[in-house]
């Protein structure tokens, strides 16, 4: 199993790490049983993600995908952020070992969960916009 230089770069110096006390959208996915928990904080202004932070309990790939995913959505409108797929994150990282693909699924879902939370806080039903967010029990990443 080998990580690309890009993965190692994001793992060793992850971008956007930390909590965000004034976030207006927070999403958490995964559980300790799956070995991977991601918590995503977003600050949305005028439908644009002006700031994003994450916390991750997980492997190198989980940390690197969190970092890359936050980079990719920072400054993006919500509609664009929702289009982010795990595949795009993996590509941006120059690939991941096959056994690590599920970690990238989690990053995509964490973003969706944070956006859903944002809509909910705005009094908007997120389901039609964001869709279902699968939990680990339903996950078919393995």
């Amino acid at each position: 199993m080998m990580y690309s230089a890009k993965v190692m770069e994001h793992f060793a110096s992850p971008h956007n790490v930390g909590e965000m006390p004034d976030a207006n959208g927070v999403g958490e996915v995964g559980n300790q049983k799956c070995g991977d928990i991601m918590k995503m904080y977003i600050k949305v202004e005028n439908n644009v993600i002006v700031d994003v932070k994450f916390l991750t309990f997980g492997c190198g790939a989980a940390i690197a995908t969190s970092s890359m995913a936050t980079d990719l959505i920072k400054g993006q409108p919500l509609s664009e952020a929702l289009k982010l797929t795990n595949k795009a994150v993996v590509e941006a990282l120059d690939g991941l070992p096959a056994v690590k693909l599920h970690c990238s699924v989690l990053a995509e879902q964490a973003i969706k969960a944070a956006i859903a939370d944002y809509y909910r806080r705005q009094g908007i039903d997120p389901t039609p916009i964001v869709g279902e967010i699968e939990d680990c029990e339903a996950c078919h990443c393995h």
Binding site: M1, A12, Q32, I37, T56, F57, G58, C59
Partner: protein
């Protein structure tokens, strides 16, 4: 980063210089087939005999009780499948083992279950020990074999082998032990401990990877595993792994000369590591401290995940290993840590450091300087740790 501190000697070890030097002639000029009758063939044969002597001597066995194999895994497969299939002919189709054996034993037992054998997997206590009375109680009329590891590879706990050996001998049940981790760290006496079969592997004791041995007590009959030529007294076909066998012989000799001094030195280093790592809050030692390999440290850090820890240690020049599933790419964390009762979350955050002959106090000091920082950094980015904080737990 130039510093390199290898603390993963339970995964594999560096070939010692003496072993390497012993091997070189057999990788160059002395290339004869040990079965051939001309000069370089006879020489090769003699070299294997000499290695066999050395292996035998180190565990108080007789030379003709030692069979060379391709690895520790082969020794385990052969001992267990060979005994089971042989004794099945006498109606004995029950095997006793423990839940926290190495996969070479566990997966072998599982494959025997598919062949129709029944296997009892004994649980271990929270300190990581098998209870001899559990073994005794599990033995039945149709028990063919008990197989319990000498020392656990992840948490280093040394099992009560002599007691289990005695029970098995009294009950006339074959007793096999996977001593891959114990060899070289514990003085083993197959006769005194009533061991019928014992597996060992070269690469844990500074011989190369890809060579092992199986001790089978004289009089014990098991089926062959590797059918082929007449090598190894007709019991294990295949042209002998000449250079590596010579290396294994040299390594066994080296490991057993001065074993006690080495163990004493390593115990001090081990305890320094354990005592200081336990000072990091929300940290636990896995496996009992009393009967523990002098080489093994296994600590869980709450709130972090093992692979990230290993990668950061690697970036700092430290090689260790983890019971985290993420490392192996599977979802389940180490079956050993689950067996001693750890929750998934904390099992994921465990670190195994394993010492070896070449480690120094400086290595330990360096590790103790790096690890607390790395743990802190990972905790700072962990949602689990943040939550513990919010709940006032830390």
């Amino acid at each position: 980063m130039d510093r390199f501190v290898y603390l993963d000697n339970s995964a594999t070890t560096k070939v010692s210089e003496r072993v390497f030097e012993a091997m070189v002639p057999y990788l160059t000029e002395h290339y004869g087939n040990p079965s051939s009758i001309y000069g370089i063939g006879r020489e090769a044969h003699a070299a294997i005999d000499e290695a066999r002597e050395k292996v035998a001597k180190a565990i108080n066995a007789k030379s003709r009780e030692i069979y060379f194999t391709g690895c520790g895994t082969e020794s385990d497969n052969w001992a267990i499948k060979g005994a089971a299939r042989h004794l099945a002919k006498k109606g004995k189709k029950h095997i006793i083992t423990s839940v926290f054996e190495h996969h070479a034993v566990l997966h072998t037992c599982q494959s025997l279950e598919k062949e129709g054998f029944e296997v009892t997997y004994l649980t271990v206590d929270s300190e990581g020990y098998v209870s001899p009375s559990d073994v005794e109680n599990a033995i039945r009329e149709d028990t063919a074999l008990v197989t319990i590891m000498y020392a656990n590879n992840e948490i280093g706990t040394i099992q009560p082998i002599a007691e289990i050996g005695k029970i098995c001998r009294d009950k006339k049940v074959l007793f096999h032990t996977d001593a891959v981790q114990a060899i070289g760290n514990v003085r083993i006496d197959v006769q005194a401990e009533n061991i019928d079969m014992l597996s060992l592997s070269g690469h844990k004791i500074h011989a190369p990877k890809g060579v092992g041995a199986l001790y089978v007590r004289q009089g014990v009959v098991i089926d062959n595993f590797m059918d082929g030529g007449a090598q190894e007294n007709n019991k294990r076909g295949g042209t002998e792994n000449l250079a590596s066998i010579v290396g294994l012989g040299a390594a066994m000799e080296e490991a057993h000369n001065g074993l006690e001094e080495k163990a004493a030195k390593l115990t001090i280093l081990r305890d320094k590591l354990i005592d200081n790592l336990l000072k990091i809050p929300h940290t636990r030692l896995n496996g009992g401290r009393e009967n523990r390999l002098c080489t093994n440290v296994n600590i869980s850090f709450e709130g972090i995940e093992g692979e990230g820890l290993l990668l950061l240690l690697d970036l700092n020049g430290i090689a260790g290993s983890s019971g985290s599933a993420c490392t192996s790419g599977s979802l389940d964390p180490s079956h050993v840590l689950l067996a001693i009762g750890l929750e998934h979350g904390i099992a994921h955050g465990s670190l195994r450091l394993s010492l070896g002959r070449y480690n120094t106090e400086e290595d330990v000091d360096y590790a103790l300087q790096v690890i607390p920082q790395v743990v802190e950094r990972l905790r700072a980015m962990s949602p689990v740790w943040q939550e513990m904080k919010e709940q006032g737990l830390v």
